[in-house]
Structures are given as C-alpha cells and as structure tokens.
C-alpha cells in the first residue's frame, strides 16, 4: 500500500490552475522531496494531502483511505508553510497539548529533545525567534508519532546551523520506517535529505527520480555564440556536446558539460568567438539551474 497516492489531481482557483493533473505515488517508508519554484503548486498539493483543501478533480488517497480519515486516526503530522503559535503558552505546554490529541504520541521529553527544544521548553511562544518557532512547529508535527510526516518548506527562517540540525532530526525520525514528504526550493536540500525527488512546476510533475538522476537530466545546457562567416565543421565533436545547430551566424550547442565545451572551443579551435553565453536548455532546466544556485 502506498502512503500517498494522487491520481489525476487538479485544483483551480478561479482561472488559476494551481495543480494540473498530478499523478504521484509514494511508498510507505520513503523520504520524498517535492521540489519546485514559487507558485509551482507544492503547498496546494500538500494541503490536499492533508484534507485542508478539496481537489477540483481526481483522487487523493492517504494511507489507504481519505486524508480526513488518516488525520482522524492520528496518522499524519504536518508542518504547514506558515502558521503562528499561541503566544501566551510555553513551548512545553504547546507540545504537550498537541501530543495529547494523538492516540499514541511520543513522550514529551523525547519530542523536546528531538526538536532541540529542551532548553526552550519554558519559553513563551511569543518570545521565540523565527527559527525557534519553526522548531516548535516541527515538534508539533512529530508529537503524535505520525506514520506520515508532511513538511512544507520546513527550514524557511532557519540559519545554517539550525538547518543542519533540523535535517538530522528529520532523518532520525524517518529512519524508524516512517514516510516523510517535504517541500523545498533547494535541490541541494532535496538531494541530501531524501531518497526521491519529485520536481513540479506549474502544477505538473516535470521530473521524478533520485537526486542524481534529476541532476544528470538537467545538466544538458546550451552554449550559444556568434561565429560570423567562419567554417563550422567539427563543432559537434567537441567534449560534452550532444547536438549542434547553426542558423545564420549563431551557433547553438547542447552540452552536458558546458565548462569542457567552452574550454575546448577556445583552446582546441582557432575560431573567433563572440557573444558567448551559457543558458539552460529550456524553461524547466532554466528553473532547475536557478534552484540549484540559490
């Protein structure tokens, strides 16, 4: 049985198609990253998995039933993209309150330890920094020992140190055979912390596989330059080049290794090259290159 199964799921807001025929199956026990730029439909998809929004079409199945049923059984824990805590309560009170809503929660001290909150347990929630509040929200998500943990951009507002510790906590939690799905903008985060990456843009899956597969898929980039009337023979034999295209004076080379291609172009030929540019092969790739940079 899959922990998450989305079949032809779509969601539109007026004329905005936030999720566009999404098909997605996540086996139990996996850690999956949902990668995509702003507005890709990550939060919308996640909120449909949690039963917070109803799809306009298609089927969402969570742990063998409806999202609502899974939530009611206490099998889902979630950290939503945004959300404030109750300022007047302490970290300890909040965590304890939420854990008691679940049938078989983790121990209070264990949750505080895993989420790195032991020292902050007596602090009021309105006195927490942004990153600390995120950790509390993570604690609330794991409090009930859910089988499926869903995290929507969990490391937003965290500094580098907190991020590292956060991902370690998440991996420890996942290591006990639980299913985790998290949304992120960063391929690097997805790479280091998941065993499968699903890339979505404009509400559709554009890539799905291990981080290594995704990376190799996007390394196809374009080197473009102006050559004037010089002879062009042999350009497709340059290192990394999979295709060469010439129209008027402009040469377009598709390459898996732009560095090697460009180096060979300058050192291995005597051509006079102008207006050299390296660009993503198409829109999807351009987006991926972008997410990798940031």
């Amino acid at each position: 049985m899959d922990a998450i199964a989305l079949t032809d799921v779509s969601k539109s807001y007026g004329n905005v198609l936030a999720v566009d025929g999404l098909n997605l199956a996540v086996e139990a026990g996996r850690t999956v990253a949902l990668l995509g730029p702003n507005g890709a439909g990550k939060s919308t998809s996640i909120n449909m998995m949690l039963g917070l929004i109803r799809p306009s079409g298609g089927r969402v199945e969570i742990l063998g039933g409806s999202p609502d049923a899974a939530v009611a059984r206490g099998e889902i824990g979630a950290m939503l993209q945004s959300g404030e805590l109750i300022g007047e309560l302490t970290v300890r009170e909040l965590v304890d309150f939420v854990r008691r809503l679940y049938p078989e929660p983790l121990g209070l001290d264990e949750i505080l330890r895993v989420a790195d909150l032991t020292e902050l347990a007596r602090r009021r929630a309105d006195k927490l920094s942004g990153g600390q509040a995120q950790r509390v929200r993570f604690a609330l998500a794991i409090a009930g020992a859910p089988k499926l943990l869903v995290l929507d951009e969990p490391t937003a507002a965290m500094d580098v140190e907190s991020r590292l510790r956060f991902w370690k906590s998440m991996r420890d939690y996942a290591a006990e055979g639980r299913t985790v799905l998290f949304a992120t903008h960063y391929l690097e985060e997805a790479d280091e912390n998941s065993d499968r990456v699903i890339v979505i843009t404009r509400g559709r899956v554009v890539a799905d596989g291990t981080a290594a597969q995704i990376k190799s898929g996007i390394s196809d980039q374009v080197v473009r330059f102006t050559l004037g009337g010089q002879p062009v023979a042999g350009l497709d034999g340059l290192p990394g080049v999979s295709a060469a295209e010439i129209s008027q004076d402009v040469v377009t080379l598709r390459t898996t290794d732009p560095d090697a291609t460009v180096a060979a172009l300058y050192r291995g030929t005597s051509l006079e090259i102008r207006d050299l540019r390296i660009i993503g092969a198409d829109l999807e790739d351009a987006f991926l290159a972008l997410t990798r940079e940031s």
Binding site: L52, V71, E84, E88
Partner: protein, 244 residues
Amino acid sequence: MPNYVKIEVLRMLRNRRYIIFVVGFPVVFYLIFSGIWGAQTDSGGVRAAVVLMVSMAAYGAIAACLMSTAVPWAQERQSGWLRQLRVTPLPGWAIIVTKLIASLLLVLPSMVLVCLAAVLTQGVRLPVGEWLVLIPALWIGAVPFAALGLLLGSLLPADAAQSAAMISTFGLAILGGLWFPVEIMPEAMKSVVHAMPSFSYADIGQHLVAGDAAPPSAVVTVVAWAAVLGTAAVFAYRRALARA
C-alpha cells in the same frame, strides 16, 4: 478535551487585555459606583450596592464572554493555528465546544470578584439560598454572549473582531441598562432595551436578589437569544472551518 479547555483558560489568564478589561474593570466600576450611590435604596427596597453588584457582574460576564471568544478565535483562524489543529485528530466540533466551555469558565473570575467586593466593601449579605441561585443563573445566562463572541470571531478578521467585541460589549452594557438605570432613558429607547439579551439577563439577577422568582419573559428572552445566536454561531463556525 479537558486538556484543551485548560490550555484555553490558561492562555486567557495570561493575557493582559483580558485581565484588565474583563477582570479589572467590572470590579473597579463596582467600587466607584457603589462608593457614590451604594447606600441608596430603590423602590423595591433593594440597596443600590446590591443592584450594582448584579449589574457589574453581568457586565463582567458579557465582557468576558465576548473578549475570550471573538478575538482569540478570529486570530487563530487568521494566524494558521486553526489549520494546525485541523491536521491533528481533534474533531472539528471539539473546538467550538471547548471555546464555549472555556469562555464560561472565564466568566467566573470577574463575577466572583464583583460579588466579593460587594460583600467586603458594602457589607452586602444575601441568604445562602439566593447566592446559590444567583451565581448559576448569571453564569448559565451568559451563553448567548459567548455565542455572539464565537459568531463575531468566525465572521470577522482579527482586528475587526476586536472592535466588534468592544462595541458589542459596551452596546450591550449600555442598552441593557447595566451602566445607567433604564428609567433615565428616553421612552423610545425603552422598547429596544427590553429586547436586549443583556437587559433580561441582568433583570433575572435583579429579581433574584430582591427575593423574587426570575420573570418568565426575561428567561424566555435570554433562551431565545441563546438559540438564535447559538445557531448562527454554529453555521458561521462551520463555514470558517471549511475555509481554514
């Protein structure tokens, strides 16, 4: 759910606005008003110190119900806390029921303090039997105001809910004759006053402290308001949940 009620009560008791406006004001008003007029007696022979005790306890209860429901609830909807609760096994109905119970519990501090102030500073003495009817009557009678608070909290964004709760509290207090005696109001106002849940609510208390039974028309008015506002609150609440 007892744990949820506890959390809700705890957070309000730590809220400065609640403590000042809801717990502090009625007692302070009582001390001031009763210091000036406390010794007078009304036509029925009841001392103003006693009448004021009922009025201020009623005002405190209304303020407590509205303040402890409307504003926090509107904030929770807006801030995402409601969504957080929606992904836990807590059933949807438990939230509104908890809020109702918590707001009724939060009525008690100001009510008890006002009565205590009456007993200690004005020497108010009632037969034990009258206390035992008065306090529960004022307590249960606060239900329509809690319902109104939940209704406002479900319909309005947080800052509008804040103003609406304030205006409702003062409006109910003034139009219910809790701050100024109804007798000094213009004739045209009086029919409005008599339709107010706050008037009937306090009126029940005034009859009880005078040693009379609660007037059936006042009881009917309070129950009717509770039914209307309660139904509206449940509808608005369901709509708010669906949009969480």
